[in-house]
Symmetry: C2
Subunit: 334 residues, 2 copies
Amino acid sequence: MADIAEDLGVSLMTVSKALRHHSDISEKTRKRVIRRARERGYEPNWMARGLATRRTHVVGLVIPDLMHSFFAEIAKGVASVLDPAGYQVTISNSDENPANEERQISTLIARSVDGFLIGSAERDSGGAKIFKSLRIRKIPYVLFDRLPASAGAHYVGVDDEEVGRLATEHLIEQGCRTIVHLRGHEVSTGVDRVRGYRKALARHGFEFSSRYVIRAGNKEESGVEAMRKLLRLTPRPDGVFCYNDAIAACAIRVALEAGLRVPSDIAIIGSGNFRHSDFLCVPLSSVHQSSLLIGRKSAELLIEIMGSEETVPARRILIPPRLVVRESSLRTAK
Amino acid sequence: MADIAEDLGVSLMTVSKALRHHSDISEKTRKRVIRRARERGYEPNWMARGLATRRTHVVGLVIPDLMHSFFAEIAKGVASVLDPAGYQVTISNSDENPANEERQISTLIARSVDGFLIGSAERDSGGAKIFKSLRIRKIPYVLFDRLPASAGAHYVGVDDEEVGRLATEHLIEQGCRTIVHLRGHEVSTGVDRVRGYRKALARHGFEFSSRYVIRAGNKEESGVEAMRKLLRLTPRPDGVFCYNDAIAACAIRVALEAGLRVPSDIAIIGSGNFRHSDFLCVPLSSVHQSSLLIGRKSAELLIEIMGSEETVPARRILIPPRLVVRESSLRTAK
DNA sequence: TCGTTGTCCGCAAGCGTTTTCGTGCCAGCT
DNA sequence: AGCTGGCACGAAAACGCTTGCGGACAACGA
């Protein structure tokens, strides 16, 4: 930068301001400066700039599990808006472990990132003092997908109650009489879907029984067990709404192994609409959630609140889910 | 930091050195400083430090496609060693597009990251001047999974020739007579697997024909088409080795739709051993590649070469693949 | 006593930007 | 002519840390 200044016979300040389109600089010199900078291949030094401005232009993306393509796609969505906006994204993976999550957020705070995008692994029961700590330091953050009660903040996610409703009503329409829900764990997505499930049952005059809500977590292993348990119920359920597609895939397999036909004996629907649903033994119906959109929207929201000086009133953005019907739930003749 | 110095009645320098375990400082004062620092919750400012030392402690991880769980797992492996070592990882996704890749690496260079981990999307035909530019600037980098001819450098990956050999010989052992390879595109992994396939054929006295190597890329869509083409060949192949599991999943479906039985009419094996292989119509045999290990090893290698002042002679680490047999290729009676 | 060595510590000078506050200059007005 | 006000630019300080060097002091051998 000094070199450029010397080249042009102006001061270093002029160069600095010109490059940042500061209003102080005349159109003419700015052009000259910018041109010369390009010629010399000047790149601003981020550390120096950061040191002076106290902003890093780095945002931390905290994800429960990169291996779920759902979250991987969110990461893509996030990058697709943060990249062009000049932000650097650093991803960290909490492995669904709230303790990890806290630790990672802490180290990112120490690294002084400008903002956070958090898909929290925090259980609603959890303390979540980390969010308080973020608020104290006035570090902007947006939560996505999961909304821990303790976090209370900007949020972007799918309308999970609607997810539950869509899936359940679909099963009802397909003529299922006894509908079970393999639920997720105690994060907002899990809870809300249960609520949607209950509401749908109620609306159609079905009786709700807590025996018909079985905890399956969100990993395959736990799904197998939950499904086995489910099949031992009497009367045997003829419709299953699963927390996610991984669980649903298990469910299908367990059902087939038990000699049942899917969907005629038992209809199964998942949620998340993951990439390989088409390739399962029985192509899986699912409630689609646009993870790309979640990523995009949360990134946009974060940029907005990082930009404004004032603290922005908490905002919630809900993305409507969409039913994708494949074979696993299709019992009506076409 | 100044505060701590004042607290203890020592100079700021002493504090700085003490915190970095500089040899200049007596054990006693160091203890005092460190203790006080903890009490006051001191966190070093990375920008300031970076500005002074010209190192950022950030490494760029460039990945062709986060949505492939293969790469997502590599990312996890990388993080699992870089995190504890005090490095920050920023992931960027090239979408299998060499132009994106170059752009992203460039912006990361401008951000002055300390090193790169690159799973290159570069085709072997490509120019790849970006690698030259890295070498000129003496920025350390390690390639993983893919090894573009033009990159010539530290590399960690699976022994892809061995992948091809394992899969092909397995099919031969299962009694397949006409074995086809649905190959990937022009990256090293694709090319090497073809070579392994050929060698295995040769070793067992099978004839090689280029008609039996069909380009399928690495996405599902292209797989369907390739598989259809394959089924029209005469004599009809009875063994298929697919570039990856996504392609293999397609292959199974297309085969079933065509009225063939898998594996008795046609045996199919993939590569990558992805998470949901168990849930396909026919559980998919695959050649497992430990992506976690790839991630780990490359991160370790990078740390090593970032640490040493001298330029380290190029090293290649090959990870042996492992055959995982499930139903889709199992024709011999048990 | 005097140099010599070694240990522990502090001074000063950066690292590459931005920010705040001038300063000179000219146009335009009275 | 004198004043105001806006415009284009520059000087100096700051951001928080590190590095190179030199200084104080004690212990030690001669």
